[in-house]
Symmetry: C2
Subunit: 211 residues, 2 copies
Amino acid sequence: MVEKQLKDRIIETALTLFEKYGYHGVTVDRIVAECGASKGGFYHNFKSKDELLYHIHDVFITYVLNKAQEAYVKYKTPTKRLCAIIQSFVRVFHIYKPHITVFNQEAAYLKPEYAEKINAKREQYKQIIFQVLREGIEAKQFRAEVPVEIAGLSIIGMVNWMYKWYKPDGPMSIEQIATAFNDLILHSLLTEEAKRDEDISSFLLSHVGDE
Amino acid sequence: MVEKQLKDRIIETALTLFEKYGYHGVTVDRIVAECGASKGGFYHNFKSKDELLYHIHDVFITYVLNKAQEAYVKYKTPTKRLCAIIQSFVRVFHIYKPHITVFNQEAAYLKPEYAEKINAKREQYKQIIFQVLREGIEAKQFRAEVPVEIAGLSIIGMVNWMYKWYKPDGPMSIEQIATAFNDLILHSLLTEEAKRDEDISSFLLSHVGDE
DNA sequence: GCGCACAGACCAACTAGTCGGTTTGCTATC
DNA sequence: GATAGCAAACCGACTAGTTGGTCTGTGCGC
């Protein structure tokens, strides 16, 4: 624990390089050179370059899926659940931006056996979002006309897209971004009655009753 | 015009393959084999594999940028402009889905001189969206609290993300998807007054005054 | 008979992965 | 607490296979 293990150093270096140059734009030789390791050290820790790619994917999706499940269990109303899930999703960019970039860019290059595992978790995540949206409509918090699949995929899309523009040292903090997303998303989902609910409208940037 | 030229056949084949296996997952040999051409034929039409990648990027971004500019000129109010731009954006998936997949997945592998040209157009597109959002806030059609950049990037993100899930033979038509997007986006942007405007609320799935 | 469009054998460079060997750290023994 | 023994961690030269790109042609329209 005193020193960073080689495996971690390799992952860290690989992430930085993959994020910038893409999986195929970086050779194993480059990775090991950049972190002062060797070919042998690399293949002692990973079965293949593919396994490293899988590992990066898995760390991120496992983490974010856990966070969503935690948020789902912790809160009891659809609106609160959705906001908590989105907030946790956005927050991940703070720690895992390079992972997410690789996850969104290089998934196509995962070997079938790895892709299968990752896709199963990806699918689970999607289903949680869909579930919350359905519950929200059921509970009359979200508009009945909202198409669950489109709305769910839109949410996933707009947050995931952050990997193209989010800069940790940008003008807005990660919490501000999460709040802005929640405001936009809730405005598009909530029914008029729900917006008038004090408990719910607290997630909005401005309370509709204020004017 | 009587027969499909080799260049077009190469592009078409390359697109199908790139979409499925990624740019680096497909060799030049594979492309030419699959479309009954030869190495010579390929390099007669393209300076390099990179140029083919650039060409695919350019066709799509040029097309979609034109469509956005046309929509902007054709309509005069922010809401109409935004809806028309989004509609045109979504419609592109009907024709250019493989282009868009490659565009979103493989941009990192463009050689610097090509990347520069593409990014300039990409930036232009972003600015049109931002502009319309600013105009909408100015005209009091869109809520003043809406953060222009976040909202703009969200819109671009959610539509672009379609490349991950859109299937031409899915349950919803491209027009239905466009309508659903517009409904979600307008609900998140419009002021309460604007929603009561007959002319504007016609873009919503259900008119708020109906209840 | 000239040049454009294309064919296909060939090449040089690159890269993931291997393999015999060395170092390091831990444990049991005296 | 020195030492021997041993396994895991790590090194780096080497290899086999792959791939973008070249080059010498060849057929064909005008």
